[in-house]
C-alpha cells in the first residue's frame, strides 16, 4: 500500500494522519560484527559451531539458544558458501512497505532458505530467479556480492543468489 492509498484507507468521521520516522543504530556485537567485517573486507561468509550440541549458526552467534553456553571464538569459525542449495522458496508478488524506507520493494522477488556448502546451517536471502516454474527445492545457487568498494558490512553486501547453470 502506498502512502496515498494508506491515507485514503483511513476515511473516518474524524481522524488525523501521521507517520513515525525514527533513526536507529543497531549494535552487531563482536560475533555478527566480525562476520559482517569479513563479508565486507574479504567477501567471505562464516558460520560457527556450538561446542556443546554441535549445531552450526549462520551468521555466527556468541550464545547457543539451546545450550545457553558461549560459542567457539573466531579461530574456530567455518567458512561457508558462496555456493549452496535451496531448501525452500517463496515469491512475493504483492508489494509491502519496507519499514526502513517507507517504500515498497519492487516485485516480484524471491526469498529462499539456502543451505550454504560447508556447514549444515541455513539462512535466508534473495534469489535472482523469480519464476516459480524455474525454481526448485534442491537447486544449486551461488552468492553474488557487490564490488568490494561498495560493500559496507551489511548482509545486503550479498546482492542475491543466482542459479548455477549445469
Amino acid at each position: 500500500m502506498t502512502k496515498q492509498e494508506a491515507q485514503e484507507y483511513m476515511i473516518v468521521p474524524c481522524g488525523i494522519n501521521g507517520e513515525m520516522n525514527i533513526p536507529y543504530s543497531w549494535g552487531a556485537g563482536d560475533f555478527v560484527g566480525k562476520a559482517l567485517e569479513e563479508l565486507r573486507d574479504n567477501g567471505k561468509i562464516y558460520a560457527n559451531k556450538c561446542p556443546q550440541c554441535g549445531r552450526f549458526h549462520l551468521p555466527p552467534r556468541k550464545v547457543c539458544g539451546r545450550c545457553h553456553v558461549e560459542m567457539e571464538g573466531r579461530e574456530n569459525w567455518i567458512e561457508v558458501g558462496p555456493k549452496g542449495t535451496v531448501l525452500m522458496f517463496t515469491v512475493t508478488v504483492t508489494p509491502f512497505l519496507e519499514p526502513e524506507t517507507g517504500k515498497p520493494r519492487q516485485v516480484p522477488y524471491t526469498v529462499a532458505t539456502i543451505q550454504l556448502d560447508g556447514a549444515p546451517a541455513a539462512f535466508e536471502h534473495y534469489l535472482k530467479e523469480t519464476d516459480p516454474e524455474k525454481l526448485k527445492v534442491g537447486m544449486r545457487v551461488e552468492a553474488v556480492l557487490k564490488p568490494k568498494e561498495q560493500r559496507r558490512g551489511d548482509v545486503r553486501d550479498i546482492i542475491q543468489f543466482r542459479t548455477i547453470e549445469k
Binding site: 500500500m1 492509498e5 494508506a6 491515507q7 484507507y9 483511513m10 476515511i11 473516518v12 468521521p13 481522524g15 501521521g18 507517520e19 513515525m20 536507529y24 543497531w26 552487531a28 555478527v32 559482517l36 549445531r55 552450526f56 549458526h57 549462520l58 551468521p59 539458544g65 539451546r66 531448501l87 525452500m88 522458496f89 517463496t90 515469491v91 512475493t92 508478488v93 504483492t94 509491502f96 512497505l97 519496507e98 519499514p99 526502513e100 526469498v111 532458505t113 543451505q115 549444515p120 546451517a121 541455513a122 539462512f123 535466508e124 536471502h125 534473495y126 516459480p132 527445492v137 551489511d154 548482509v155 545486503r156
Partner: protein, 391 residues
Amino acid sequence: MARKVAIVGIGQTEHKTRHPECSHAELINEAARRALEDAQLTIKDIDAVLNGNMDLFEGHNLLDTITVDGSGAYLKPGRKMNTGGTTGGTMVTSAWYHVASGIYDVVLTIASEKQEESGGNTTSAIITCADPLAYRPFSTGAVGALAMVAARYMHDTGCGEEPGAIARVKAADNALKNPYAHLKLHLTLEDVLESRMLIYPLRLLHMCPQSSGACALVLASEEKAKKITKKPVWFKDHVISHQECFKRPLSPDPTPSMISQTDAARKLYQRNGVTQPRRDIDVFEMYEPAAWAEIAWMEDFLLCERGEAWKLVERGVTALDGEFPINPSGGVVSTNSIGATAMVRVAEAALQIRGDAGAHQVTRKEPKTAVATAFGGCNWTIMTLLSKNLD
C-alpha cells in the same frame, strides 16, 4: 500450590475492518463491559485489570497511557503487555497467575487491536520484529513466513493446492455462523484456488484479514467462581514454549515444523493423560493465521501423523460437524484482530464448553475439554487446556 481458576465472564466486540465509531479506549471498553455483563459483575467487583495489544499496529507506544478509562483500571492494579501474536494468550495466562497465586480473586483481562490505524500496513509493522542485522532485509512478515509453511507442506506431502482451499472454505462456513467474525464470505473451492497470489504459493484467501476488535474475560478463584456463575469454565493446564527466533533458518535445523508447538503439545498431553488427542480433546481452537497453517500445524500439535493432516481435512474431520472440530468460530483466517486473537481462541473454546456458542456450537457431542493455542512473536506457542469439570 496454585488455586483453581475459572472463566466466569466472556465478552468480545464485533471484529471489523474498521471501527470508526470509537477510539481504541472505547473499543476496549465495549469488550470489557460485555464480559462484566456476562459475569453479572460491575467494575467494582474487579481486583485487577490487565490489557494487551501490539503497539506498532497503532503506532502508539504503551497504549495504556490512553486506555485506562476504557479498561477500568482506574486506581486498580493493572498492566499492559505485548508479546506479539501471542498477546491475547499472554493476557489470559497472566490473569490466571494473578488469581491462582491467591493475591487477587477476580481479574478482568482485555486484549485488543485497532489495526485500521496502521492503514493496512500490518506487514511493515511485523517486519520490524525480525533481526535488523541478518533477517529484516529479507523479511516478508507473517505472510512470507506462512507462505514458507505452505510451500514446505505441499512440497513434503505432494498434496496439491486443494486441501488449503478446503480448510479455507470450512473456516468461511463456520464464520458465517459466528456473529462476531470479521470475514463472512460464501466461498467455493474455486474462489480460493483462483484468488490472487500474495506470496507464492500463498493466495489472498489463504491469509487472515487485518481486523479491528477486542476481547475480554473475567477470571475468578474457585470460591468466587462458584458464587458468580452456574457455568464456570475451568483452567486445567497450560504450556508456554519459546523457540530461538522469528526466522526458522536461525535455528540450524532446517525442519518445517514449529518446534515450540510440538514441544508444548507433548508436555500438555503428557501431563494431562491425553494419549489420543483427537479422542481426548473435544474442541480445538487453533491460532492459524493462514489456511495452510491449520493443516501443517495439526501435525505440529501431534493431532495426527506427519503427512496425514491434509487427508483428514479432505475427509471433513475438522468441520463443525466433524469428528474433531477445529476452529468452529471460523478461526483466524476469518478474524484477526491480532492482539485479541489468542484471547478469542480461549473465549471461543470456553463458549463451546458452556454450550453457549449458538449457531457455531459443535454438534457431535457436548464438549467437556477444549484446547486453545496462541502463535506469534518469535514463533512462540501457548496452549491452554480448558475443562467443564473442576477435577
